[in-house]
Symmetry: C2
Subunit: 424 residues, 2 copies
Amino acid sequence: MPYHILTRESVLEYVRGHPLFDTAFNPGAALESEEIGDGNLNLVFRVLERGGERSVLVKQALPYLRVAGEGWPLSKARAGFEARALEQQHRAAPGRVPRPVWFDEEMAVNAMEDLHFHTVMRAPMVARVQFPELGYTVGRFLANTLFATSDFALPSAEKKRLSAQFLNLELCELSEALIFTEPFYVAPSRNRYSPALELEVGQLHRDTELRSRVAHLKYRFMTQAQALLHGDLHTGSLMATLPDTNQADARAQGDIRIIDPEFAFFGPMGFDVGLFMANLLLNAVAQGGHAPDLLERQNYRAYLLKQLLECWRSFESGFLTRFETARSPSWLEPEFQKSFLNSVFQDSVGFAGCEMIRRTIGFAHVLDLESIPDPLERVKAERGALELGRALIRSHQKIESIRALERILLEHLSLEHSAHEVSP
Amino acid sequence: MPYHILTRESVLEYVRGHPLFDTAFNPGAALESEEIGDGNLNLVFRVLERGGERSVLVKQALPYLRVAGEGWPLSKARAGFEARALEQQHRAAPGRVPRPVWFDEEMAVNAMEDLHFHTVMRAPMVARVQFPELGYTVGRFLANTLFATSDFALPSAEKKRLSAQFLNLELCELSEALIFTEPFYVAPSRNRYSPALELEVGQLHRDTELRSRVAHLKYRFMTQAQALLHGDLHTGSLMATLPDTNQADARAQGDIRIIDPEFAFFGPMGFDVGLFMANLLLNAVAQGGHAPDLLERQNYRAYLLKQLLECWRSFESGFLTRFETARSPSWLEPEFQKSFLNSVFQDSVGFAGCEMIRRTIGFAHVLDLESIPDPLERVKAERGALELGRALIRSHQKIESIRALERILLEHLSLEHSAHEVSP
């Protein structure tokens, strides 16, 4: 079927006509649909059986950036990157991503498991909902998917062949420009920020040491083909069942899923870890403008810090366990493993710093900061994000342990040393 | 024309029948041929006009390793890698590689400029012939070709697309195994070495610190897609007109060319630099078994050291000049440029160490050591190569300047501190 943009009506016909219809629905089922997308890049429909239990999510890539109208064209080839990444992640970390149902290249459609009871995590987290397994789950997901697509798990030729399927040229260029270049230079850029930040942005643009370190991180992003990354792992790419939801299936409470891998490419592992860290920290600094009560605010910050530390620890321990299965004696050398994980850690810290800065003064912002009601509080939080971002970038090549990172974060978030031990 | 192995006779017919015949020869010219290949992987014919001046080199990839007979199959796809690499190098460094004439994929043939007056450099260098421009020329060649195919010169998408044309799976796997794995582990391996080296090889296999650093270098080799490398830049991949040759064209005296880029792939720049360095150093340690006269030996060693230093310096200065033309403001940051070149330097030193070791105890040896007539002298030189190789690998992550490398080399080659100033 040649590409055409689906509607609530035509999606029903499309689904009924698909050869894999009966892997997803009962024969002859009557279908209905709703559009649930809030994204900029895609149409997202939930297609469900009338009166039945089965449903499927139909996600179609648009050939332009929705918010910008047809003036910002964007290749719908990204649906293919998403399909291939989902397949790899589903294999390496089953149950952590929506189960793929079919991929239709011509229509740029991914049909996948409909996560009925799940909510995108960013907004509930701005409202300080706690997901106690968050850090652990993301760390494990990363250990599983990144190891499985690395040279440690795959024969050299197979990994190179796989990486050639992920020449995600357009979205990589977008990340290079929006994360690593534009926020750090005056022009040309698509930067957007409050005039109250003029001073801080000016300082940043004059900070040549910082810019060199960012260039180093950008170069790693562009040349380090370590593993198949998710590529856009912020809290808007995570879904969860709310911990207090009263569900039929109690096992599913607090179930966390990783979605939207359309930015997937072969890059440095620390980029995924760092983006996740940064988005926890953006929330943490933003809480200054959301939680009027000091105790509540600091309690949530302590929870976020705990998730960040647990993410790294579960990633590290998961990766070390998998290292025992590595294909070559080279990867079994204990000192190599240690220094490799240390380099991933340093990358993570640096990438986290870049993400914090670009989400504050670059093109794409985050709800956490944008939704702070008081403009003065918002600017204060944004300053906090810029400061912490700079501190992370500055220290990333020297930082040697998760403890040292913890110390930096405790100081920046004004937390007591033992605060992260407060249990949620 | 379907693939068939060429002979001295059939190559004439093949050349006459090729559509690009008249780009290479005068119309209706009578041709003759000679086979001049000494390689293991390819047939190499010189096809020339009888009584005329024009000639062409016809290089055909064999589908197996020649020395091992048909029992070691090897994809003739490497002729394509050579053709594409030659094209890139010819563009970035015109006059430094044989001018490509045509590439015939089906026949796995590269037809190229016939370097009549040039000799492969390894043997003359074993006999201590000096090429005063060697280090400078190779350094410039590397600055030109590596910069031109890097993210500094090419738009991100173009570089990624180009790198996808160089998935040199088979030859990369061969390098990984033969350079970085087998020499450092007991089994399984294709290692070959004199029983007199048993002690040293045992020490090496028990050196876990060394093995970790080699694993680190191997990982960089496999994941650092910085630029299109030559991939096999030893003194057998260099040709030159002998400096004392009495030629009609005086300008061509001492002319140096880089040949045989069939191992080309996107990897860490330091690999090319390091292989060249290592092959100079293998010659230097081998001179202990070739030059009976101490002064003559040390004089040649000083010459070799000078070439090594000049190679790095001309690479570095050439690269810094090209950096001024870089595409993104990120790459113009002076501190980034400095730390980038430092990392290439450290890689080079580490890769040089691996190459020295694998050429001594691995599968593929070098004439420099193999041709030492006295078995005791040979073992002595081999021990020297192993020792220096280990020292380079051990120090590579700490070494900060070419001066520091010079000090290590002066000591290992028993040269006076000023010896490298002795002019050739």
